[in-house]
Amino acid sequence: MEENKYMNPYLAGFLLGLVLLATIYITGRGLGASGAVKSTTIAIVNSIAPEHTHSEKFYQEYLTEHEDNPLKNWLVFEVVGVIIGAFISGLISNRLSFKIEHGPKITNRLRIATAIIGGFLFSFGAQFGRGCTSGAALSGMAVLSTGGIITMFAIFGGAYAFAYFFRKLWL
């Protein structure tokens, strides 16, 4: 079956904005994604090497905030929802399939490597930015936070600045 077309971007943006607005109105906080990645990492490290997490400062700070259960976190629940929601949407629009997408000039193997490196850099940067495109840039813009908007410009500005050097990966 043919994949369905994507939604009109302005309509999708409007709906996304309403979801974000509802989130702020109901919970007092915005959306996020990288926070759940952080919780998951800490949970994994905590289960493998609990002595380690109780001595290192970063984990300590985090675990005291979360009563020793890093997965009991708003964003973890939200991201579980994202997985379900995206899956439902993919099902409805016939987009469920295992595949590797990459630019025409590169191999699958290189695409996997760049995905890992990109993911690594993005979430490493998100620690400094105190959030990613969702948590810092989008939610920050909604509440007009100075820090969020600076991060937003830095993300997109940075991406444009580096885009030329990595054009072979995509074009």
Binding site: G118, G119, L121, G147
Partner: protein, 396 residues
């Protein structure tokens, strides 16, 4: 008044809310096409600006909504999470994220979304992002300096730039519309497609108009507090007969008896309140009416709120505003604090009224003038309204 967590929606239910919001978030992201890296990086190579359209429209919609809800008194902005500003960390982090974006083709949210529909590259991106946190965590002592440098607090962009919120928001809406037009031109150029003839769709025009009206309305329309204050200043509107009054004698008697249902709300300026205040009275300002915690204090069941001001006119205004905000159990002190001081506290003026009031009243007042100052000493007033609710915790 929002936010609904934690008062109306408890902290446990909030996790269910998170799940539902996540489902909606995931569905919209996937429907918008954010589950494919080719579409996402199109933004940086000029062939597909979907990301900019979706992102900007969403940001503007939520921004306009937050401004409007706050303006009309439905959302307490002081309880909302405002991402804190650590200048260098925000800049450096953002640039690293930008680099990750062009190399990896996703951002964390979109990678999760894409992984959910089977994109294998997205799954590896998620794996990489777990490693990113790990390295940051292990090297934290090294990064902590940069991470915490140049802290500006929870500042908002229009404060940083020194302009009004409405003007900034209007600019944002206009910039968004301009960029939608501009990127469409770029897309056609890069993809070598022919631009279609431009059409003014009624949907876009009406949505833009609504957004502009909402962001400009705080400039032209008085907000809830201003309009209430105007109404209260309008003498004809004051419901003089509908508001209970309590005489100084009755108040004195109830204070002496230690009446627990009394809640004395003192609106006098802070200096006067610090100099002298009735036992257990709470200092209040007009602004407190528009804060969630203060309103909660006034809404405690079984309490009789007695409004104390210098004179009665001021008390009537405050009572009117409280009434309009839905607080019904409210009375005012007859004649205000001036009258109370004259008839209960000041021995000289009590003497003067000796022949004007009946003997029991005179005796009572004399007694009260001795007891009340002692009670004042014993129960120093509880002071300013305590802020119990904290800003919501957010961010990643």
């Amino acid at each position: 008044m929002g936010p609904l967590v934690p008062d109306i929606i408890g902290n446990d239910l909030n996790y269910i809310v998170a799940l539902i919001i996540g489902i909606l978030f995931g569905m919209v992201l996937e429907q918008a096409g954010f589950s494919t890296s080719k579409k996402l990086v199109g933004l940086f190579y000029g062939y597909d600006f979907t990301v900019l359209r979706v992102f900007f429209t969403a940001g503007i919609t939520a921004m306009v909504g937050v401004i409007a809800l706050n303006h009309f008194g439905l959302l307490d902005i002081n309880l909302i999470y405002i991402n804190p500003t650590y200048l260098w960390s925000a800049l450096v982090g953002g640039i690293i994220m930008g680099l990750g974006f062009v190399i990896g083709g996703f951002c964390p949210g979109t990678s999760i979304c894409a992984a959910a529909i089977g994109k294998i590259d997205a799954m590896y991106f998620v794996l990489g992002s777990l490693l990113g946190v790990l390295v940051f965590a292990e090297g934290y002592p090294l990064f902590e300096g940069l991470y915490k440098a140049e802290f500006w607090g929870n500042v908002r962009i229009f404060e940083t730039l020194g302009m009004s919120q409405s003007i900034f928001a209007t600019l944002m809406v206009l910039i968004a519309i301009f960029s939608f037009w501009f990127v469409t031109k770029i897309e056609h150029k890069v993809n070598k497609t022919k631009p279609e003839k431009f059409k003014f769709s009624p949907y876009y025009i009406s949505l833009t108009t609504v957004a502009l009206i909402l962001v400009i309305s705080p400039l032209v329309m008085p907000d809830r507090r201003e309009s209430l204050l105007n109404e209260a200043n309008d003498k004809d509107k004051l419901l003089i007969n509908e508001i209970n009054k309590i005489t100084p004698d009755e108040l004195a008697l109830r204070i002496i008896r230690g009446d627990n249902t009394l809640q004395l709300i003192d609106f006098r300026p802070q200096e006067e309140f610090s100099k002298f205040a009735l036992p257990k009275s709470i200092h209040f300002t007009f602004d407190n009416f528009f804060e969630k915690d203060a309103l909660k204090q006034l809404r405690i069941k079984g309490k009789n709120n007695i409004i104390i001001t210098k004179d009665e006119n001021e008390a009537l205004k405050m009572a009117y505003i409280a009434f309009k905000l839905g607080i019904k159990n409210i009375s005012i002190l007859d004649g205000g604090m001036n009258n109370f001081a004259e008839s209960i506290l000041d021995k000289n003026s009590i003497e003067k009224t000796k022949n004007l009031v009946n003997n029991d009243t005179y005796e009572f007042r004399l007694k009260a003038s001795n007891i009340i100052p002692i009670l004042v000493e014993q129960n120093k007033s509880s002071g300013t309204i305590q802020k119990k609710s904290k800003r919501a915790l957010g961010g990643c």
